[in-house]
């Protein structure tokens, strides 16, 4: 019995770690959000260079968080990794493709003799910036809306549609979260640019951009949340593991886990406050409130997806194949070993913070862009 409790604790522990990684990933997608505006936000080439260099100094954090998110999911919940990646093939491949073209675009875009020209690499940045957050939002939405798969006796996945994941794009709730994540990334991108670039005209345009992006964000986000709260959910019996449909499951989760509800509401308020102080008080610190709000909101969404006896990856094709943090997890030994490894995370966060500050101490200026040797 002790073993069971320990494993259950570790399953929850690792769901929290994975959720935190996902939350930070969504926050760090301010890089993608900024990229999605490289055609619309700057008024001249110099402004574009400043934007690209501001975002470009952080792209590796987003990228690394995505990779670590994948690795942590693989290690702690390998059945999800095998099921979703091996089944929803096209969605994940599209996400990967968009990140692949990003990785080289920054380094190559302004280098002479890059063969394809700066326009191509800027297009890569735009594509990654638009598709990356949108598709990740759609993929995460399937944690609530479900996917079309079944597992056999040996836990091998069979995907029940020939679209291998693209069918998720036909669900309005998935689309709503996809667009909400995209517009949130754009809002955070604008706030980050305001925080790091010293150019009055660009800041003015960024503040204006906050209006145009906040409205669609609120519409899509509210649409998704309202749908989520009134929809049925996938409950897992804590003893037998049997999956059943439960009315208002996610609303119940929020009510039954009031701490998560508080986190969620604090997160939403944080995002709105970050936008508000930037627009009203012309503050440069909006990104920190909005960023913290993003982390809290996404974190709490993940918690209601996986905690409180909920299937975090429901199967619409074969209900009993649905994945929970119990049936999809690694063994007790592995979860415990990795828990020891995870103790190093605060140290990692500390040095990231230190290095981040060291680079961001001075804002990006026109002069720097003209004199800096290593620039994007």
């Amino acid at each position: 019995m002790t073993v069971m409790i320990s494993q259950l604790f570790l399953q929850h522990y690792w769901w929290i770690i994975v959720s935190l990684l996902a939350s930070f990933l969504v926050f760090l997608m301010f890089v993608q959000g900024g990229q999605s505006m490289i055609y619309s936000l700057p008024q001249n080439n110099l402004q574009k260079t400043m934007i690209v260099n501001s975002l470009g100094r952080k792209w590796e954090f987003t990228f690394t968080t995505l990779v670590t998110f994948g690795g942590a999911f693989f290690a702690s919940f390998p059945l999800f990794y095998a099921t979703s990646f091996g089944g929803a093939y096209w969605v994940w491949i599209a996400i990967l493709f968009s990140f692949t073209i990003q990785a080289i675009a920054y380094e190559f875009r302004s280098k002479p003799n890059n063969v394809f020209g700066q326009k191509t690499f800027d297009l890569f940045l735009f594509l990654n910036g638009s598709l990356g957050p949108f598709l990740i939002g759609v993929a995460v939405a399937t944690f609530f809306t479900g996917a079309m798969f079944s597992l056999n006796l040996m836990n091998q996945v069979h995907w029940a549609t020939p679209w291998y994941g693209l069918e998720a794009l036909l669900n309005v709730q998935n689309l709503a979260l996809g667009f909400a994540v995209l517009f949130l990334a754009r809002i955070n991108g604008l706030l980050y640019i305001i925080n790091t670039v010293d150019d009055e005209a660009l800041i003015k345009r960024s503040i204006k951009g906050l209006f145009t992006n906040s409205i669609p964000f609120m519409i899509f986000f509210l649409f998704f949340v309202i749908f989520l709260l009134i929809s049925k959910g996938f409950a897992a019996d804590p003893i037998t593991g049997t999956i059943t449909i439960e009315k208002f499951k996610y609303l119940n989760n929020l009510i039954q886990m009031p701490v998560v509800l508080v986190l969620f509401l604090t997160g939403v308020v944080g995002v709105l406050y970050g936008i508000g102080i930037t627009v009203i008080r012309k503050s440069f610190s909006g990104i920190w409130f909005s960023g913290a709000g993003t982390v809290l909101s996404v974190f709490s969404l993940f918690l209601i997806a996986g905690f409180n006896g909920t299937s975090f990856y429901p199967s619409l094709y074969d209900l009993q194949s649905s994945l929970t943090i119990r049936n999809a997890s690694s063994s007790l030994f592995t979860l415990k070993t990795m828990m020891y490894v995870s103790f190093i995370i605060p140290f990692v966060i500390a040095y990231i913070w230190y290095a981040w500050k060291a680079i961001n101490n001075n804002k990006i200026t026109e002069e720097e862009m003209k004199s800096e040797e290593h620039k994007y």
Binding site: R57, K58, F61, F63, T64, L66, V67, T68, G70, G71, A72, F74, A75, S76, P78, L79, Y81, A82, T83, S84, F85, G86, G87, Y89, W92, L96, F97, F99, Q102, A103, E107, F108, K111, N113, N114, V115, L153, M154, N155, Q156, V157, W159, P162, S330, S331, F333, T334, T337, M338, V341, I344, I345, V348, Y351, A355, A358, I359, N362, E373, H374
Partner: protein
């Protein structure tokens, strides 16, 4: 030619993974080695305060940056392809394989990503010492990344530290240290990183040689040659040493791969080492596979026995010993292993059926079987053989294994000569005059890339048909998606990677030609 191509799902999935891995490996070794060379160069700059060393460091750092980005781009695909294309494998071993990947992300990738930004953009923003520490941390982070993925790969060559759980139908980790200090992992890590150091040294040496040929940047070139020569010579000696250790380990843990590397069909005492050989088809066949024989060979008698077994009378196992078994050596034949594997699979299926109908008595009885050491040693260790169709299927492609191994070894010795010569000529002060050598150094840049790719070709192709040695075949491991989907993504990635490679080379050449002004 086309009629020989098997257009099945598993082949396309393998092709896609091979494509991604081989492209990825074009960029990673340079990152592994050049990062340390940058750290050494910058250390000299900080210690001496000479601006020329800063300039040298920054020049190579620019090339590092171009290469680094494309390495990352191809790397992300690899990580996720374990799930997208090998989902059955991901579940079967995720409990073990996922851990090194997660540790890699937490420990190594963040270290690399965080400090690479300081390294590129921090020259005028942080202190000299903080910058230097950042450069060292990038080098350490990059090489730590290699450690964890190589530990995972080594486990596929020699699975250790796990137990099979019939309830979850997967292997589960029981000893993390056994996985980390797996002999294959130790050999592989040392051999791989030293080959990366070697490749980077050749890259620096070759480009510096070009400057001397063009009578440009004399100081930058000679100082770079000094670093590359010393680092390269030490690395190439380490590559030879660790390569020898790796081969000996392979002979113990993957004897079929070893026999294929040596094209040794019949085992023998006093086995000779083939220094040079050309293979041809013989009249003989094993099943449908044609046996290869030497059309020509230069052999040192007894040396293979000496190197592998310690004396010239040591018996080196051939492929026949494994196919038909060898009672004297205690080797079980492949048909027997296939029977044992099928029995183990039947027991597992019975267990699953008992679970389905909740037959408690039967569940407990079979659980007991799985805990029995005898069952594990006699049957379950051959689980993968249950899906082998014909005994000869366990023989990898002998031609590929033989040539990739031998060409890699020949190149390895050539590198020792080149680095020794570079240092000799540099210290004599005549390197600028020896145009023939400078051209050799320049034209040798691709050779470590070729050697490195050959090494992976041998590692992975030489293990076929297994994805996990003796435990799971590639056909069992593949994701059940449509072949058309995989073909489409294969083409997409092939076009993208090729385009990026062309762009990278073009940018590099331009950057080399336009060394930043003093």
């Amino acid at each position: 030619m086309i009629e020989n191509v098997d257009l099945s799902l598993v082949d396309w999935s393998r092709a896609q993974f091979a494509l991604t891995a081989m492209y990825h490996w074009l960029f990673v070794p340079l990152t592994l080695g050049l990062s340390f060379m940058l750290a050494i160069m910058e250390t000299i700059y900080v210690r001496t305060g000479k601006e020329e060393w800063k300039r040298i460091t920054r020049f190579w750092m620019t090339l590092f940056g171009i290469n680094f980005a494309i390495g990352i781009a191809t790397g992300i695909i690899l990580e996720f392809e374990f799930g997208t294309n090998w989902s059955n494998y991901s579940w079967f071993v995720g409990d073990i394989f996922g851990t090194p990947l997660a540790v890699e992300g937490i420990l190594a990738f963040f270290l690399e990503a965080t400090f690479v930004a300081v390294m590129f953009f921090g020259w005028n923003k942080v202190s000299k010492k903080f910058h230097l520490v950042s450069t060292w941390l990038v080098a350490i982070g990059a090489n730590l990344s290699a450690l964890w993925i190589l530990v995972a790969n080594a486990w596929m060559q020699k699975p250790v530290g796990m137990i099979f759980n019939p309830d979850t139908a997967r292997n589960e980790m029981v000893n993390f240290w056994a996985i980390l200090f797996n002999q294959v992992a130790v050999d592989k890590f040392l051999h791989t990183i030293s080959s990366g150091f070697l490749l980077a040294s050749m890259f620096v040496l070759g480009i510096s040689a070009w400057f001397l040929i063009r009578k440009r940047e004399d100081l930058l070139a000679k100082r770079s040659i000094l670093i590359a020569g010393v680092f390269g010579l030490l690395s190439s000696l380490m590559v030879a040493f660790t390569g020898d250790a790796s081969a000996r380990t392979v002979s113990k843990v993957q004897p079929v791969k070893f026999a294929s590397m040596e094209a040794l069909y019949e085992g023998k005492n006093n086995a000779g080492l083939i220094v040079f050989g050309v293979l041809k088809d013989s009249e003989k066949k094993i099943g449908k596979k044609i046996v290869k024989e030497f059309a020509f060979k230069i052999e040192i008698p007894g040396l293979l026995s000496v190197l592998t077994g310690g004396d010239k009378d040591a018996y080196i196992q051939g492929l026949a010993d494994h196919l038909s078994g060898n009672e004297k050596l205690g080797i079980i034949s492949v048909p027997e292993k296939m029977q044992s594997g099928k029995f183990a699979r039947d027991v597992l299926t019975s267990y699953k059926r008992a679970r389905l109908i909740n037959d408690t008595a039967r569940i407990e009885a079979i659980k007991g079987v799985f805990k029995d050491k005898d069952f594990h040693d006699k049957y379950f260790r051959y689980f993968g053989y249950a899906s082998i169709d014909k005994p000869e299927d366990v023989i990898p492609d002998v031609t590929i294994s033989f040539y990739s191994f031998h060409l890699m070894v020949v190149l390895g010795f050539l590198f020792i000569l080149i680095f020794s010569a570079a240092l000799y000529l540099l210290f004599r002060g005549t390197i600028s005059d020896k145009k023939w050598f400078l051209w050799i150094a320049l034209l040798s840049i691709p050779l470590p890339y070729i050697a490195s790719e050959l090494g992976w070709l041998l590692t992975e192709m030489g293990r076929q048909p297994w994805i996990i040695q003796d435990m799971m075949t590639v056909s069992q491991a593949v994701s059940q998606i449509s072949t058309g989907s995989v073909i489409t993504t294969f083409i997409l990635f092939a076009v993208l990677f090729t385009g990026l490679l062309i762009s990278e080379i073009s940018i590099m050449v331009k950057q080399i030609k336009t060394v930043p002004k003093r």
